[in-house]
């Protein structure tokens, strides 16, 4: 069972490194493996995101890729949303939270599927070398 967990983490890490959310893979796998319930699976996503994101931000900052002028307009709202959301995750009954997560996953999945299909054509124009970012 541990091997499955390590494999799930490894795959999610690969996806995050590509800019595709690892959580969308991690939460369903952890649930299916019976290793976590909805809230603890989401907690795993949050916690495992922190060190990777921290390292990535330092790298992006050195490359001057962070648009600092946007941060004051975004951060206060985002933090307010996060507090409300995290409190809501503790307050909502688990099946409800799972239903909302499922609906959100369907929406994002549809978006990923469509943009993935249209991505090849668009991206080969803007990045002739085949790279996507960085």
């Amino acid at each position: 069972m541990d091997m499955l967990l390590y494999a799930a983490g490894f795959l999610a890490g690969i996806l995050s490194g590509m800019g595709v959310g690892g959580g969308s893979l991690l939460v369903p796998v952890l649930l299916a493996a019976g290793q976590a319930n909805q809230t603890t699976a989401q907690g795993v996503c949050l916690a495992s995101f922190l060190p990777v994101a921290f390292a990535a931000i330092i790298a992006h900052f050195r490359q001057k890729q962070i648009e600092l002028s946007f941060l004051p307009k975004l951060l206060p709202w985002a933090v307010a949303g996060a507090v409300l959301g995290a409190l809501g995750a503790g307050w909502l009954p688990l099946p409800w939270l799972q239903g909302i997560f499922g609906a959100f996953l369907c929406l994002l999945g549809g978006y990923e599927l469509l943009s993935g299909i249209f991505f090849n054509a668009k991206d080969s124009l803007s990045h002739p070398d085949g790279s996507t970012r960085e």
Binding site: S16, V44, F49, F61, W77, G81
Partner: protein, 134 residues
């Protein structure tokens, strides 16, 4: 119509609302906030993909820190599980960054989109049809 739309999506209010939605998603569902924010910054604010990605990380990391803190207070953090996933996730992230130029990202995103639609649909189904107490 088109002009009105572009005016609205480039307003500070729209940016703030998107930030709020991203924070809310990240707090309530543990992930997914960045997936909302990157396309908005890229298409409505005309940031290039790398900058949109880097700026989004800068917004999402603080929301993840606050959400993780609230999750921990609620007892949603399974630290041994988090350790396993984080360690393998870091390995996966490095691997992903190395193999990124060689991977057909479009098809990968399409495949992940399919996985998200299936697992999201399954979670919705569970939410509506599982007996209470699940």
């Amino acid at each position: 119509m088109d002009r009105m739309k572009s005016h609205w999506t480039s307003s500070a209010l729209f940016l703030g609302l998107t930030g709020f939605a991203a924070g809310l998603a990240n707090g309530l569902l543990g992930s997914g906030g960045g997936t909302l924010l990157v396309p908005v910054l890229a298409s409505c604010r005309h940031l290039e993909q790398h900058k949109a990605h880097a700026t989004t990380l800068c917004v999402i990391l603080p929301t993840a820190v606050i959400s993780a803190f609230i999750y921990a207070k609620n007892g949603f953090m399974d630290w041994p599980l988090i350790l396993k996933i984080t360690l393998s996730g870091i390995l996966g992230g490095v691997t992903g960054a190395l193999i990124l130029p060689k991977v057909p990202t479009g098809w990968l995103r399409a495949a992940l989109g399919c996985f998200m639609l299936i697992s999201g649909g399954k979670m919705l189904w569970t939410c509506f049809f599982m007996p209470p107490g699940f």
